[in-house]
Amino acid sequence: MLTISQIYLDKMMAHAIREYPLEACGLISGEQDIVSGFYPTRNDAASARIYTVNPLDYLKADRDAEAKGAAIIGVMHSHTHSDAYPSSTDVAQAPDPSWHYILVSLKHKDPILRSFSIVDGKIVEESVVRLNY
């Protein structure tokens, strides 16, 4: 389960739309399953099909989260033309089994956001609890 404020969900979807037609990516901070921040990052791959989080953006996000008593707990990225479900590339390159993997699909008229855990190559969808503040 991932608990997240609607504010951060809106920021993620806005970031995905802003970066379209390229894939957008960003990092979420918080504690375990509760999100307390979102950091849009540059996609060094600059591609509509793949993403690579800019490592300096990651470093800065990590420092900021740490200063706020939180940690980086997951990554968000967009799929511009496919469903909000991890691809084989996402699974193969998932860096941390404790992370949350948020997908925003722009395939349909309205963005669709889903969250997953990826552990030892196994994808499990988790519920997203939206807070209205």
Binding site: T89, Q93, P95
Partner: protein, 93 residues
């Protein structure tokens, strides 16, 4: 010289759960070797079998990626902070 090394969440389990550790050395390579000696579980996750940096890991000296400095031969100085970060990538392919 002891240098602070910041670890990402994925590596902390191999370092007794610590987010920040200290390691001895004059270069990034020496720092990493010292780290591996203290926490052997970190070894294969940071360095490749040939001793180079693992391609799925980024190592920063303060704000600089050591791949764009002198890689493992990059000199460190008192007060520097080394950060190890996993490469974060994927996509719809």
């Amino acid at each position: 010289m002891a240098i602070e090394v910041r670890l990402p969440t994925v590596l902390r389990a191999a370092a007794s759960g610590q987010a920040n550790v200290f390691a001895e050395g004059e270069t990034i390579g020496e720092i990493l070797k010292s780290l591996m000696d203290s926490y052997p579980g970190l070894g294969s996750q940071v360095l490749s079998p040939d001793g180079s940096l693992h391609r799925f890991v980024n190592v920063y000296l303060n704000d600089d990626d050591v791949r764009y400095l002198d890689k493992l031969d990059t000199k460190v100085a008192e007060g520097d902070v080394v950060s190890i970060l996993p490469a974060v990538a994927g996509g719809s392919l």
